[in-house]
Symmetry: C2
Subunit: 306 residues, 2 copies
DNA sequence: GTGCCGATGTCCATAAGATGGACTCCACAG
DNA sequence: CTGTGGAGTCCATCTTATGGACATCGGCAC
C-alpha cells in the first residue's frame, strides 16, 4: 500500500526540481494578497470571512489522499501551512471525530465521523451502487483493475477500486487519489467532454504562478499542448488512453459518465501495465469501457428522484 | 441532535425565563473557563485554539440529520450560534464542496466532497458491505424496516436503512438521525453492553445543567431509572425493545454488534408499529436480530486487517 | 394593493481567537 | 555520544472570525 507513497515521493523529489525556491514560501500567501484568489489550486473561490474553513477543507482533502494514514510532515509540506497550525487543526478535527490519529505510527486518517457523514451523504449520491456492478464486470472481463472517479472542480477523485485478476497491479490510483483534470485517463475522458470554454479555462489558469502549471507538477508530457492532443484523440474514439504519462509503464484507459444534464461528472477507468494495452486490445477495452459507462449514464438519466 | 440542542429550544421557548439575560449568552463560554471541560456536550473535549473546528463539526453534524436538506433557521436554532456566523460558515463549507446550498428551497445538505471523503473513509470502515446483507435479510424476513446504527461518543447515528415490505412505515429513524445512547432500541442495545462505569458516566453527566438531561429532551419515559430498567431487560434477553418511547405506537427492537475488542460499536434494529411487536413475535424478531448481529460481529472479529 | 412577519443574506467595527516563531522532546543513524 | 528530522507544545502578536444592525425577499392576511 505504500507503493503510492512511493509515487508521491518520486514526484516530490524529482519533478519539482524546477530549481527555484528550495525553501517553499507559499505560506505567506494569505497575509498579503487578499484579492488573490488562488493560494492553493483547490476548488474554492476567495470566500469572505472564513479562511479556516478553507484550511480545514484542504487538510481533509490532503488526509483523504491516503486512506492508510498520512504523517504530519507530508500534510504540512503539501498544505503550505505551518506545522503548529496544521497540528492544531488536525488535533481539533480528531477531537471531533472527523480524523483519527494513530499515535504509534504518527499518522492521520479519516475518522469515524467522516465515514458516518459520508454514509449519510451516500443516500443522496447513489453512484456507488450504480457503478459497482460495472466495475466488477470490467475487472472480471479484462483482468485489469477498474476504477470509478468523480469530478470535483478541477480535479478527479478516485472513489472506487475493483481489483483485477492480473497479478501485476498498479497502485498509482486508489481510493482518495486526486488528479487534475487532464491527468490520468479518467480526468482526460471527463475533460474531453466539457465545453471548449471550460477546457480552456481549466488548462489556462492553474492558479497564478507559472510554476503551478500542470506540466510543472506532472511533467512535460502534461503540457497544455500534449493534453489537447490527447483530448482530440479521446474525442475521436470516445475513450481516453493514458500511455504511461504519470508513471512509465503504467497505462490507463477511461470513459466518461454523464449526469442528467449531460455533463461528464464521473469516469470509469482501467489501469495496468503497458503490454496489456496494445493497440488491438485497446479497442476491446475501450468498447467495454464505453459500454459500461453508457450503462451507468443511462441509469443516472432515468430517475427523477427527490 | 445532541441534548445540547434541546437546551437551546428550552431556553428559547420558556425555561430560560429566569428573568436575566433574555438574550442568550452561552456564547461567552469559551472566553472565561479554559479549564472547563464541558462547554458543549458533543463528543469533543475542550481542545485548545480551534473553536471554529468544533463549530464546523457541529454544523456538519446538524446538516447531516437531514439528508434531504435543512433550512438555515433550524441550524441556527439547534447550534446556538448567531445567524451571521452560521450563514458564513455554511457558505464557506459550500464553497469547499462540503455542503450544497439549494438556492430555491433555501436548504443546506451534504455536498459532493463529503460524499467523496466518506467513500474514501468507507474503504477503512467496511461495516457497510458487511451489514447490508443482514439488513436485507432482516427486512425480507420480518417485513419491517431494518437499520444499522453506529455509536459515536454518547450518541448513535443511523447509517443504513433497508425498507421492509409492510405498508406502514415509521420515519422516526433514517440515515443521519442521531439519538443519545439509551434512546431508541439501537442505543439501548449498545448501552446495555457497555461497562457499568461508562453507563453511569453517560447517564449521569449530560453536560452540566440539570435541564440538559435526556429526560428533559425525550420525555420522562427516558429518566435514568427508566433507562436502567430497560437496560436490565435488554441484558436478560440480549436484545433491546423500545415500546414506543420516542413516538407513541412506533416500536423498535435492536441488537448490538461488537468490534474486535469486544465493545458494542454498532447495532442492528427493526422498527414498526405496535401491533407488529406483540410479545410472541418479539421473541422471533429478537432472535433474528441476535443472529444477524452475531453474524456481523463474527465477520468483524475475523480479519486482522491493517 | 398594502402592510406585516419571518426568513435569508450582507456589512463592518470590534475584540476574540487563530497564528506561527521558537522551544522541547523523542527516535533513530552514524 | 552527537546530529538529524520529526512530533508536539507554548504564548505574545495581530490577523481573522464574530455578531449587532441593516437590507431584502417572499408569503399571507386583510
Amino acid at each position: 500500500m505504500n507503493s503510492r507513497l512511493l509515487i508521491i515521493h518520486i514526484m516530490d523529489k524529482g519533478v519539482d526540481m524546477t530549481g527555484q525556491s528550495p525553501a517553499r514560501e507559499p505560506r505567506k500567501a494569505h497575509t498579503t494578497q487578499p484579492p488573490c484568489p488562488a493560494q492553493q489550486p483547490p476548488l474554492a473561490q476567495p470566500v469572505q470571512g472564513a479562511q479556516v474553513v478553507a484550511r480545514i477543507a484542504l487538510l481533509l482533502r490532503l488526509v483523504g489522499r491516503n486512506p492508510s494514514g498520512t504523517p504530519l510532515a507530508e500534510i504540512v509540506r503539501d498544505s503550505g501551512l505551518t506545522r503548529p497550525t496544521v497540528h492544531r487543526l488536525l488535533t481539533s478535527l480528531a477531537a471531533e471525530g472527523l480524523l483519527d490519529h494513530d499515535a504509534v505510527r504518527h499518522t492521520w486518517h479519516y475518522g469515524p465521523e467522516v465515514f458516518v457523514m459520508g454514509t449519510v451523504a451516500a443516500a443522496c449520491y447513489p453512484i456507488e451502487e450504480l457503478a459497482r456492478p460495472s466495475l466488477v464486470r470490467l475487472a472480471e472481463e479484462t483482468g485489469e483493475s477498474a476504477f470509478l472517479s468523480i469530478r470535483r472542480g478541477a480535479e478527479t477523485v478516485c472513489l472506487l477500486r475493483e481489483e483485477g485478476s492480473f497479478p501485476i497491479r498498479s497502485f498509482v490510483l486508489h481510493e482518495g487519489v486526486r488528479f487534475p483534470l487532464g491527468v490520468a485517463s479518467a480526468g482526460m475522458a471527463i475533460l474531453a467532454y466539457l465545453p471548449d470554454a471550460e477546457v480552456d479555462a481549466l488548462l489556462a489558469d492553474t492558479g497564478l504562478g507559472e510554476t503551478e502549471t500542470i506540466a510543472a507538477r506532472w511533467g512535460a508530457q502534461h503540457s497544455p499542448a500534449s493534453i489537447r492532443a490527447n483530448l482530440e484523440r479521446t474525442r475521436v474514439t470516445g475513450y481516453a488512453v493514458n500511455p504511461g504519462l504519470i508513471l512509465e509503464g503504467s497505462w490507463g484507459m477511461g470513459a466518461a459518465i454523464f449526469d442528467r444534464s449531460g455533463r461528464p461528472g464521473w469516469a470509469l477507468s482501467l489501469t495496468g501495465i503497458e503490454p496489456r494495452f496494445k493497440p488491438e486490445r485497446q479497442k476491446v477495452l475501450g468498447q467495454l469501457l464505453l459500454d459500461e459507462a453508457s450503462r451507468v449514464t443511462q441509469i443516472l438519466q432515468r430517475p427523477p428522484l427527490t
